[in-house]
Structures are given as C-alpha cells and as structure tokens.
C-alpha cells in the first residue's frame, strides 16, 4: 500500500516542505507573540479595552481557517502574508488568555510590596509582573506553536506554493495516491509532537518553579482545562 521507492525519491522535497512549514509556523508564532504581549499589557492596564480585545480575538479564533485564508486572497494576493496573517490571528486568543491569566494571577500583596519598594509602573511590570506570569506565558507559546503547526497544513488550499507539509496531503488526494498523503500527514503529526515535547522541556528549564500540574489555557479545549488540576 505504501510506495517506499516514491518516498525515498522525494526526501529532498520533504525537507523543503518541513523548512517551509517551520518557517510559516515560527513567523506566525513570533509575530503573534509580540503583538499579543503588547495587547495584553494594554488590556491589563486599561480594563476598558480588555473586553473588546478578548472578544475580537475570540471571534477571529472561531472563524474556520479555510474561510480566513480564502478571505485574504483579494486583499494580499497569493503572497506569503496570505498564509501567515491568518496564522498570526489564530495565535491571538491563545496568547491573550494565558498572558492575561498570568498577569491577573499576580497577588495584590506582591504588587503593593513592589509599589512600596518604589518600583515605577514599567519597572514593576518588567521585574515583578511578567516574571510571575512567565509560566503561563511560556505555556501559551507551547499551545500556540502546536496549534499553528496544524493550521499551516490548511494554507495548502491557497495553492502549491503554500501549505508546508500539507501540500503533500492535497496533492496526494488529487492524485489518489495514499503514499503521498501519508508523506504529508505523518511528518506533520511528528512535527507537532516534537515541538510540544521540546517546548515542554524549555518550559521546565525556563520556569522550574512552576507547578507540574499547571496547565495553560487552551481555547480549543474549553475554558475549564486551565483552572483544572
């Protein structure tokens, strides 16, 4: 059922697609992180903007990826932005929920102590609030990365220049060629699991004080998971 010779013949193409896949995902997670960090700090400072920011991120997150990728074509044409912008938008809710939960979780006593020690607003943010929120922030990076790796495949609907490993799934389907479908699907899953494990390691290195049972908030899995266990 699996055409091993074909697979062996296309290893260089596989590598190219893995690189594209990682590039799209890395770019989206990186840009998404920077934008959302700004938004989260703004929302934490000004309660008025908090609800609209969270709602808009939630609405974007709800729109099926196929629709969002397609919707961008008339705006950006068939360029790299067409694939990366929706991926960035999907990271917003994941990052935002975890950053806000992290910032919210800083005890009022701690903030008061920091104020009493003469910390300014930004100093307090950089030296006290963000370090204390770090476990959830890093957990959010992990969730966003794994979820983005899955979504990169869907950008294959934009054409052969897109999709990362998803390209093989679409082309394999068009050619009714199961080997090629598996050639895209299995490495995608491997990539997602590898990223998950790697980021978990990094998470433990970076924030060894975080309880092992701490679970970041995953909007794709319902709201309860974050507070459970």
């Amino acid at each position: 059922m699996i055409d091993w010779a074909w697979a062996a013949d296309h290893l260089d193409e596989l590598l190219e697609r893995v690189v594209q896949h990682a590039f799209f995902a890395g770019l989206a997670v990186g840009i998404g992180f920077v934008i959302t960090l700004g938004l989260a700090i703004w929302a934490a400072r000004r309660p008025v903007v908090r609800a609209p920011i969270v709602s808009i991120s939630g609405i974007l997150y709800t729109i099926p990826s196929v629709a969002l990728f397609t919707a961008l074509v008339p705006v950006t044409g068939l360029a790299i932005q067409t694939a990366v912008i929706p991926l960035i938008l999907y990271t917003f809710l994941i990052f935002l929920r975890n950053m806000l939960a992290g910032l919210d979780g800083v005890a009022p006593d701690v903030l008061e102590a920091a104020d009493a020690m003469g910390y300014g607003r930004w100093q307090r943010l950089l030296r006290v609030e963000l370090p204390l929120a770090l476990p959830l922030i890093v957990g959010g990076v992990r969730l966003a990365t794994v979820s983005t790796i899955g979504l990169v495949t869907v950008s294959g609907i934009l054409g052969d220049r897109f999709g990362g490993l998803g390209f093989f799934i679409f082309e394999g389907y068009r050619r009714s060629f199961p080997t090629e479908i598996a050639f895209g699907a299995l490495p995608t899953i491997f990539l997602a699991i590898a990223a998950d494990v790697l980021l978990q390691r990094i998470q433990r290195r970076l924030t060894p004080w975080a309880p092992r049972t701490m679970r970041p908030i995953d909007p794709g899995r319902g709201t309860v998971v974050g507070s459970a266990a």
Partner: protein, 238 residues
C-alpha cells in the same frame, strides 16, 4: 468594491438558495454532519468523562488524550483516514467518511476533558453529604455531580463545535459536502461572488453556533448551582 457587490449579489440571488447544491441544502449538510459528529463524540466522551471524573481513576488519561488531540491536525486525520475508508467503501470512502471520522476524533478530547474536570471539580463535601444521605453512586452522578458539571460540559461542547464546523469546511476540499463546497467551486470557477459568499456563510455559521452556546450556557444552569453562586457572591461581598 466589485468584490463586495458580487458577494452580496450572489448571496441575495434566490437561485443560489434552492436545489440540490444550493445554500439551503449545503447549510443543512454542514449542520447535519456537525451534529452527527458531535452526537457520536458525546455518546463516547460524556460517559467516559463522568466515569473518570467520578472515580478519579485514569485521571491523567483525559488530559493526555487532549494533548494528543491537539497534536493531530484535522487535515492529517482526514489524510490518514482516507486510504482506509476508501479501501472499505470506494464510493463514500473518498468523500464523506474521512471528514466525519476527523470531526469525531477532534470533538472527543474537549468534551471528555471538560466533563471529567467538571465532575471531578464538584465539591467533595457535597458528594460525601449525598453519600451520607443514602444516595447510590448512580444517583450521586445524576442528581449531584452532573447538574453541577453542566457549565464545564457545555464549555467543552462549545470548543468541540468550533472545531467540528471548521473541519467540515475543510472536508469540502476532500469531496465532502457542506458550505465549504462554495469555496471549492468558487475558486475553481473563478467566481468571486460564490467564493466570498461561501466565506461569509461559513464564518456566519461558526459565529452563530458560538453565540448559541453562549446563550445556552446562560440558560441551562442548575437552579441549585445558581443559588450557590449568588449566596457565595453575597458572603464574599459581605
């Protein structure tokens, strides 16, 4: 703004709404596929989630399953299931089944993990009190734990429905029906009105489902849980 007028014109044209491949039929397919997948997922995930939550056994299983579910992209599931179902049923195996399987597989983890967390999160004092009052384990589940776990279970269903509706859209690119067909056909026929009419419909359906769950979450709360919340709020305010 040619695109906007094209899209509005396509959406408003009654000819696009009727018939076997019209908006009405595609909408019905999309909702029916999503509903069936969610129903199958509930039939499996809710009993298992209740059992794990109630007994506390295999508690990490649910969380690990949720982790695994996240690492399985919908497209990869469709791709991996396709050759298998195609071999079993050459007719529908290439069209409907792969997407349906992916939808069920993706719907199970959020429902299971939220049911489990919801039931396990019920105050153990309440469960002990119920047991002391002579309720059987089944009665404890039905009368105490389930009513108090309704909110998290609904939250799980809400996440599952978002995923399922998105995956159904993707399924149209693999021979499935539903509203995603308008995107597939619109792109192939270079018909912008149809493509973006499809985008609007897909987004509207997803947001409508989300809104319906928000309303449902407000409506279906156990009166007991509501009373507890208000009395708790009153005590903490005092």
């Amino acid at each position: 703004m040619n695109l906007v007028t094209d899209t509005v014109a396509w959406l408003l044209d009654p000819a696009n709404w009727g018939g076997n491949q019209g908006i009405g039929m595609r909408l019905f397919e999309h909702i029916a596929f999503s509903g069936i997948s969610i129903a199958v997922a509930i039939a499996f995930a809710v009993p298992v989630g209740i059992w794990i939550g109630h007994t506390g056994r295999y508690a990490s299983l649910g969380f690990n399953l949720a982790n695994l579910g996240r690492a399985l992209p919908s497209l990869a599931i469709i791709g991996l299931v396709l050759p298998v179902t195609a071999a079993i049923d050459p007719q529908l195996g290439f069209k409907v089944y792969p997407t349906l399987v992916a939808m069920v597989v993706l719907a199970v983890p959020p429902i299971l993990v939220n049911t489990q967390a919801g039931v396990a999160g019920v105050d153990r004092d309440l469960v002990e009190a119920a047991r002391a009052m002579g309720l059987t384990e089944g009665q404890i589940v039905r009368r105490v734990e389930l009513p108090l776990a309704v909110a998290p279970i609904l939250a799980g269903l809400r996440s599952a429905s978002v995923q399922v509706i998105a995956t159904a859209t993707l399924g149209a690119f693999f021979g499935g029906g539903g509203l995603g067909r308008f995107l597939v056909e619109g792109i192939a026929q270079r018909d912008d009105g149809k493509t973006f009419g499809g985008v609007v419909l897909v987004a509207a359906l997803a947001l409508a489902a989300e809104a319906a769950f928000v309303v449902l979450q407000r409506l279906i709360r156990s009166p007991g849980a509501l009373r507890m919340e208000t009395s708790r709020a009153a005590t903490s305010a005092a």
